[in-house]
């Protein structure tokens, strides 16, 4: 593990005690993000990607809680901070963008006030300064006629503009890290492209690290530098994006890439899509051994009994017996 990383997530484990037993939606997840780096976290629903994001900023909904592992931000442990300490991290050092821009904004407060309230919470500035800061933030995210839009309410914006406002809110405290949880899922394709480009540009300009949570392999490919593939709460594969997507080692990553339709690749158009059989196991019915083994096309006996550990291979880190066996 690099010690000078912006964010280090180490063996992070989240538990949800329920009546039918304790769920472990995030299980010993480790990865890190450097300054200015965009790291994608990809996986199907239930893979634990959003919960990982929430756990990092301490926003887990009770009864979910961090049960193990650590999160450090620039060498400072933040996973055991209390709510008051976390408040200085959130918004100030880690900005957040949620999926649905409409529901992320308080419908009863003008966006100017929402922006300046956030600025005042972190920057130790007065009302007038905060308002200026808010205006600048709106200009930065490309809201046209920003000055006149400061006193507008969320419902007066279009979907894409709203998400720009949310990004402005995430960036107003000049954070070192942005956690963007499916930021474009609710948007139209044409707008999605705009928003992703904006996010990419702003973060590169400010040298901000980004954790981009998405289920869309296309978005991963086009936007991120590195990718973390999650399956059933565990890391399946981590590596350079191009490496992972073009030469995936983990059968799950392979399957995921293969199942994603590609609009430009007409070569295999009349073929069947590469489907992974079955569905992701429920958190209560986690199979023994490798969680992916019931769906794996290359399943081996060892997979059914032993949990594979993460190991470094070529440019990726993967958790699979397949590669490990070949290596040994």
């Amino acid at each position: 593990m690099t010690t000078n990383a912006l964010l280090e997530v180490n063996n992070l484990t989240v538990e949800i005690p329920t009546r039918r037993g304790t769920l472990i939606p995030v299980n010993e997840v480790s990865f890190n993000i450097d300054r200015g780096e965009i790291v994608g976290v990809v996986g199907e629903s239930g893979a634990g990607k959003s919960i990982t994001g929430s756990a990092i900023i301490g926003l887990l909904d009770p009864p979910a809680r961090i049960a193990g592992g650590s999160v450090t931000l620039q060498g400072k442990l933040i996973s055991d901070m209390n709510e008051n300490q976390l408040r200085d991290i959130r918004g100030k050092r880690i900005g957040t963008v949620f999926q649905d821009p409409l529901t992320s904004l308080d419908p009863l407060m003008s966006i100017g006030n929402q922006l300046s309230e956030t600025a005042m919470a972190h920057l130790n500035i007065g009302r007038d300064q905060a308002r200026e800061k808010a205006l600048q933030a709106l200009i930065d995210v490309g809201i046209p006629a920003a000055e006149s839009r400061l006193d507008a309410y969320p419902h007066e914006f279009s979907g894409g503009m709203r998400q720009r406002v949310v990004i402005a809110l995430a960036l107003i405290g000049d954070p070192e890290l942005i956690i963007a949880d499916e930021p474009t899922t609710a948007l139209d394709v044409s707008v999605q492209a705009q928003v992703l480009m904006l996010l990419k540009r702003l973060c590169k300009e400010r040298n901000t690290g980004v954790m981009l949570i998405t289920h869309d392999m296309g978005v991963i490919a086009e936007t991120t530098d590195r990718v973390v593939v999650l399956y059933a709460g565990r890391v399946a594969e981590i590596g350079d994006t191009r490496q992972v997507l073009t030469a995936a080692i983990h059968p799950y990553t392979q399957g995921l890439v293969g199942a994603t339709p590609n609009p430009t690749n007409l070569a295999n158009s009349q073929e069947r899509l590469n489907q992974i059989p079955g569905t992701m196991p429920g958190l209560l019915s986690m199979p023994a051994g490798c969680p992916f083994h019931p769906r794996c096309s290359e399943v081996m006996e060892v997979c059914k009994t032993t949990l594979p550990t993460l190991s470094q291979r070529e440019n990726s880190t993967i958790a699979c017996h397949l590669g490990a066996e070949a290596k040994t």
Binding site: R90, G91, S104, E117
Partner: protein, 326 residues
């Protein structure tokens, strides 16, 4: 926005028209006005004279219009019981009821919102659960019993608060108020608690459940993610959004407060319109009963209009054209 208010206004007028019709029907069908007015030894001639005078020989529609016309001019007839014009009696009694209703409503609102917010924020706390459970006692006993118990404890046994009446009243700009004297203030405590307790519980539970829902919304989560303080989140964002649906209910509840004042006023001998009404019911004093109904209907309409305006003030989504779904 303007259209919205006009529409609500017409709706209110329609409501009043119907309430008026019910009130009018009471004149016609509840109790025999001849009997009530003339007594049993009336002659046929007497009856005809009365019929002429009251216009009872005209078609019903005309009678109704006449009734409405009179009502609009504040002309509600004369009490059968003591011959005083109803408008005068109501005007004399209304301040007492309005003061009681407002104090109860403020008590219910203030404490209800406070406790509602508290129990929502500390959802699983011991004290919050305790408040939630004990508050149910307030709605599990009939109002009159609570009133009698309060009198028993605070007036008879402890002898600290008055058991009846408004205490000293003074007139301020033609409004007879009990809120400006010490004895008046002391007198209003027990009735206001009796009347407001139920509504307080209701408001509290409503605020709690709405607040719990609001606290789960994305924008609260996002507000936390922005690192806002707990206070800014709970009061700057959550409470405001909570109050939106609560306001409507409170509007309706104010109407209920005025109606339930009937019981409180009876128990505490509070000289308001509720007491007047219940006496009128016993005496079949139809003019007073009908006027009371119209009054409650009008108050309700006005309250709802105010609530609607409040809604528009709070919710920017309604400010544009007021056509947004409600």
């Amino acid at each position: 926005m303007f259209a919205y208010i006009i529409r609500r206004f017409f709706q209110g007028a329609l409501v009043l028209g119907i309430v008026g019709f019910i009130a009018f029907s009471m004149f016609r069908f509840i109790g025999d006005p001849y009997e009530n007015i003339l007594g049993q030894d009336a002659t046929v001639l007497d009856r005809q004279a009365l019929e002429e005078r009251l216009g009872l020989n005209k078609p019903i529609a005309i009678q109704y219009l006449k009734f409405l016309g009179n009502a609009m001019q504040g002309e509600f007839g004369v009490s059968y019981r003591n011959g005083i014009p109803v408008s005068e009696m109501i005007a004399q009694r209304l301040p007492a009821t309005i003061e009681l209703a407002i104090v109860s409503a403020l008590f219910a609102l203030f404490l209800g919102v406070l406790l509602g917010v508290y129990t929502a924020i500390n959802r699983d706390g011991f004290l919050a659960n305790f408040i939630m459970t004990t508050s149910l006692i307030g709605v599990s006993l009939p109002t009159f019993l609570i009133g009698i118990l309060l009198i028993w404890v605070f007036a008879v046994e402890l002898n600290v608060l008055p058991s009846f009446g408004r205490g000293e009243t003074v007139e301020i700009w033609g409004w007879k108020t009990g809120l400006a004297t010490a004895s008046g203030l002391k007198s209003i405590i027990l009735p206001a608690i009796t009347l407001g307790l139920y509504q307080m519980t209701l408001v509290m539970r409503l605020v709690r459940s709405e607040m719990l829902e609001v606290l789960r919304t994305d924008y609260i989560r996002f507000a936390r993610a922005r690192g806002l303080t707990r206070r800014a989140i709970n009061f700057g964002h959550a409470l405001k959004n909570t109050l939106l649906p609560v306001i409507t209910i409170i509007g309706i509840q104010l109407g209920q407060i005025i109606a339930f004042a009937i019981i409180t006023e009876t128990v505490f001998q509070w000289p308001g319109v509720g007491l007047l009404f219940i006496n009128a019911v016993n005496f079949v004093d139809v003019p007073i009963m009908a006027t009371y109904l119209l009054l409650v209907g009008s108050l309700f309409v006005v309250i709802n209009l105010v609530v609607d305006l409040l809604y528009v003030v709070i919710d920017p989504r309604l400010r544009l054209d007021g056509t947004e779904a409600r």
